[in-house]
């Protein structure tokens, strides 16, 4: 049940135009900043939003002329949208009932699905009596009980607290692995994407900016958004051998050997800061001014301006030693061996 789609939706001040494919059993994560068009994509696939142009083909069958109730696409909404007046059991039985399965049989199916997601003891509960994690699982069971040809998940874990999220994510991974059709997962959390998806599709401003498996994307981000997402400083410039010249003339020495348009990337931890111009000869060094200081795990993330705007990670001890605070002028260096260049 492979998905082939080109989605074009035009709205005032916003346009979505993307091509999307997914193979049976594959989990594709749509990743992107807020307002990029992730949810719009999902709604268009589900039929809740009319396409202005394009097509949706699932297994060779055109879906785009069909109403949502005819598409047989399971959707888990961000806030689950469990029907508040129905018990967990009746929520899950709702789909089969709509397809005229007799009530008793629909309930039996629902019971099975709820057991499968580990909620056998909660079938009689109303949605408001369920915890966030339980509600998420009921929503998943409800979508799967319709035996959909494709599954769409909109930020399935966003509404959960950190601890529940960890458990639920692991369980979700199991259920997705068991699902035979294609799954499209929308998220803005890279960790969800990396853990759950076989392939990532990065969307920005309604366009696909990068697609590939997790390793490729984390190693070679192609936009600022992706770079920030995976925690890299990213620039674009023109390479001549090991030297890359950025548009404003600043030159970085890299470990590579490329010609022409390239991306240059290095992690914040590779940036070292000094109170005065360092002796010796780090090839890349420049004066910089601290703009912000914030916690980042065990380290402090320092944002700097200067000829090369950059983020640096330093230890709290180093920060105290250097007196790092907004406005402080320092020297920044990065070793050429830490700087990777790849074709744009």
């Amino acid at each position: 049940m492979s998905l082939r789609a080109r989605l074009s939706v035009r709205r005032e001040g916003f346009g979505l135009d993307i091509a999307l494919t997914a193979e049976p059993g594959e989990v594709v994560a749509l990743l992107g900043p807020n307002g990029a068009g992730k949810t719009t994509t999902l709604r268009a696939l589900a039929g809740l939003l009319r396409l202005d142009d394009g097509h949706i083909t699932l297994d060779g069958v055109r879906l785009d002329p069909l109403a949502p109730e005819q598409r047989r696409i399971g959707v888990v909404f961000q806030d689950y949208l469990l029907f508040p007046h129905l018990s967990a059991l009746d929520n899950v039985a709702f789909g089969p009932r709509c397809r005229h399965v007799p009530k008793a049989e629909a309930r039996r199916t629902a019971q099975e699905w709820l057991t499968r997601v580990g909620l056998a003891d909660h079938v009689r509960k109303k949605p408001r009596q369920l915890s966030g994690g339980q509600a998420q699982r009921v929503a998943l069971a409800r979508a799967l009980a319709t035996e959909p040809r494709m599954l769409l998940l909109d930020e399935p874990l966003a509404a959960l607290d950190a601890r529940t999220r960890l458990d639920t994510r692991a369980q979700l991974r199991g259920h997705l692995a068991a699902f035979p059709g294609a799954t499209i997962l929308v998220t803005h959390d890279p960790l969800d994407a990396l853990m759950l998806a076989d392939r990532l599709v990065i969307i920005e401003d309604g366009r696909v900016v990068q697609t590939g498996d997790a390793a490729t994307i984390t190693a070679q981000p192609r936009t600022d958004y992706v770079a920030r997402l995976v925690g890299l400083n990213l620039y674009r410039g023109r390479a001549e051998g090991a030297t890359v010249t950025l548009p404003d003339g600043f030159a970085l020495v890299t470990a590579g050997d490329e010609q022409g348009e390239v991306f240059v990337a290095f992690p914040p931890s590779a940036v070292a800061l000094f109170a005065t111009r360092p002796d010796g000869s780090p090839r890349n060094s420049w004066p910089a001014t601290v703009t912000t200081v914030s916690r980042h795990g065990d380290a402090l993330r320092i944002e700097l301006t200067g000829p090369l705007p950059v983020a640096a990670d330093v230890t709290p001890a180093a920060a105290v030693h250097l007196g790092l605070e907004p406005g402080r002028e320092v020297w920044a260096t990065v070793k050429a061996t830490e700087v990777r260049a790849y074709r744009a």
Binding site: A46, G47, L81, H85, G95, C98, A143
Partner: protein
């Protein structure tokens, strides 16, 4: 205070000593029964016509929606007597539709109990439509989308998801609608006329009693009040508890 003082006035002025014999006068029971019957039927008519209309107003975007919404409130603004005349012009013997009905089927609405129901439904409908539309707007339309992705047609989604969710709003609207229909006077007397047992509802009986005998009018009003307050209180408890 402002709302209850007139009620207190009625209670104080009531002819308590002669109340038992007045209550057993034959006309009262007939008028009361007719009032309850027609108000309930009018409410049913309003539910059948008004809930779908409210859904259309709340959920569909179409040109002229504002105009339709404004038109729905016309019976609120229109003096009920004018409403009655308007109904006559449409459903009367010489009316646009009434003339055809009369000639084709020999059916004539004015001066019949059905005419009372039509007049009451006309005047009471906005209360239901406005209440239900408000409830629909307040309810999350995405539940209907969720139902659609589960394979529910629009009608199924409405019946099994939306309607249960807005049930309190529909109930409130129905109660308002019923209460308005019960108290309806102007459109009823104009469109359906006044004939005991057939079209003379309590408000008409009260009005005509007022022409002759203030005490009789007060007694009739008290009966109407007692019955309606009793029913409304009972319904309210039931719904709040549910």
């Amino acid at each position: 205070m402002f709302l209850t003082l007139p009620l207190a006035g009625l209670l104080i002025r009531a002819p308590w000593s002669t109340l038992p014999e007045r209550l057993t006068e034959p006309g009262i029971l007939a008028a009361l029964r007719l009032s309850l019957l027609t108000a309930s039927l009018a409410t049913v008519v309003c539910l059948i016509l008004g809930v779908p209309l409210a859904w259309v107003l709340a959920r569909l975007h179409f040109p002229g929606r504002r105009l339709v919404r404004a038109l729905v409130t016309v019976p609120l603004v229109l003096p009920p007597v004018v409403g009655g005349v308007a109904l006559l012009l449409v459903f009367g013997r010489r009316g646009l539709i009434g003339g055809w009905l009369d000639q084709t089927f020999g059916v004539s609405l004015p001066f019949t109990t059905a005419g009372v129901v039509v007049a009451e439904a006309f005047v009471a409908m906005p209360f239901l439509v406005i209440a239900v539309e408000g409830a629909l707007r307040g309810s999350d339309a995405r539940y209907e989308e969720a139902a659609a992705t589960l394979g529910a047609s629009r009608w199924t989604a409405f019946r099994r998801v939306t309607l249960p969710l807005i049930a309190p709003g529909v109930a409130a609207g129905a109660v308002l609608c019923w209460a308005r229909a019960l108290g309806e006077f102007g459109a009823t007397i104009t469109f359906a006329g006044n004939f005991p047992g057939r079209t003379q509802t309590m408000p008409l009986a009260v009005y005509l009693a007022l022409e002759q005998d203030l005490d009789a009018a007060i007694v009739l009003s008290l009966v109407l009040l007692a019955v309606s307050v009793g029913i409304l209180a009972a319904l309210r408890d039931k719904w709040v508890a549910a």
